[in-house]
Symmetry: C2
Subunit: 213 residues, 2 copies
DNA sequence: TGCGAGTTTGCTGTCAATGCATTAACCTCT
DNA sequence: AGAGGTTAATGCATTGACAGCAAACTCGCA
């Protein structure tokens, strides 16, 4: 639970206003996407629903896809934090698996209205899939960097990258398989967690020996 | 060097013509992308360079990005073939390792004039990255499915997916790191293949050891 | 030779995204 | 409080990817 030291006691009116508009945009987009589908929803509609000009939308999000990932760096930050405060006895793989738990937890907390929509859209809309995978790659790179910093002796750059890729690939692969066609059936969120966890552990097993030695 | 048994003795004039145009498009695109960059090249330019109408381009490729992956299914086919003719003594991991090697060696996809360009573009152009990752995901899913079919008793769907994801993720992660280090030198296909091989090598080392060579 | 399926193109329209210029809304400092 | 600077909001115009439509064309084959 690291606290940031950023001085942000009282956001100015301007900032509050901006944050409000941003939220309005996200909510509007989530609902429109949900009801009409992603491709059937135009940026102009989203903007109108949030009561701003079309042009202004792009002052908040660089592209239509970007609004699907309003908090794209949250996961990466959680992971990095988990890597940062590691037990000196832990090996890379253990740290990563712990980071995985940390992510699951931070995800459970902050439930953006976009999360569900996004997951559903992932399977049907290529543009969404592409963007999601890019976000994932960015996170993966970040993880690789941190990992290499944390274990400069055991891991060289390429190996760290391979390990990070292995982890994210395994997790996303397992999720992809679990979610399948019709999303998660609600109640089994916990079940999902443990299954992902197990599958991931299986998929990383060889690293445990290799990285240690 | 598998020979297809498809009855294709003499492609009709029509088919030959179409294939020729297709090749012309790919070459033109590769060169233009290389010289001016991806985003700076319009579909109209590519079409013009291949001497066809702009509209016709979309009769050959569904989107501008698609021309970057002219034979994305070659990989999938190579992989499936590798999984298909497995030794009954092999375990899932052995088969996977062999399949990934097959991908690294597969000619079809690497020899294309597009391979080098694509790799360079991957790091600079978001659209290319997105598409590349989607292609990879598709391949990964295919691998997972085949793997599960080949080992219905040892692997459940989720584990198969995690395994497929973990290994492809590791390889692509390593490749990403390798290329990030110092890019790709020439447009030359050997270079591309060398990188892929290096990445495969690094990423799969732990697995090979665990699998007892 | 002529019909019919498959192709090529141009035209038109939609939509995302960007550059530019203008105006309105805050913020700060005195 | 009010001037002056800054940031945000918007409108307008433009570019470029695509899709639908319909006319002109090209091959394959009877």
């Amino acid at each position: 639970m690291a606290r940031h030291e950023t001085a942000a006691p009282e956001p100015s009116l301007r900032e509050r206003k901006r944050a409000r508009t941003r939220r309005a945009l996200i909510e509007a987009a989530a609902e429109l996407f949900e009801r009409q589908g992603y491709e059937e929803t135009t940026v102009a509609e989203i903007a109108a629903a949030a009561e701003i000009g079309t042009r202004t939308f792009f002052g908040y999000f660089a592209s239509k896809e970007d609004i699907l990932f309003p908090d794209s760096d949250a996961r990466a930050r959680a992971t990095i934090a988990a890597i940062a405060d590691r037990d000196p006895a832990e090996g890379p793989v253990d740290v990563l698996l712990r980071a995985l738990d940390a992510i699951a937890e931070s995800d459970a907390d902050m439930v953006s209205p976009m999360a569900g929509v996004r997951m559903r859209l992932f399977h049907t809309v290529p543009a969404v899939r592409g963007k999601a995978l890019q976000v994932q790659l960015a996170a993966q790179r970040e993880i690789a960097r941190e990992l290499q910093v944390a274990f400069p002796d055991e891991l060289d750059r390429v190996t760290a990258a391979a390990l990070a890729g292995g982890l994210t690939g395994a997790v996303s692969g397992a999720l992809d398989a679990l979610i399948g066609e019709d999303g998660i059936d609600g109640a089994d969120a916990d079940n999902v967690r443990t299954r992902v966890r197990q599958a991931t552990e299986a998929a990383l097993r060889p690293w445990r020996q290799a990285a240690g030695q």
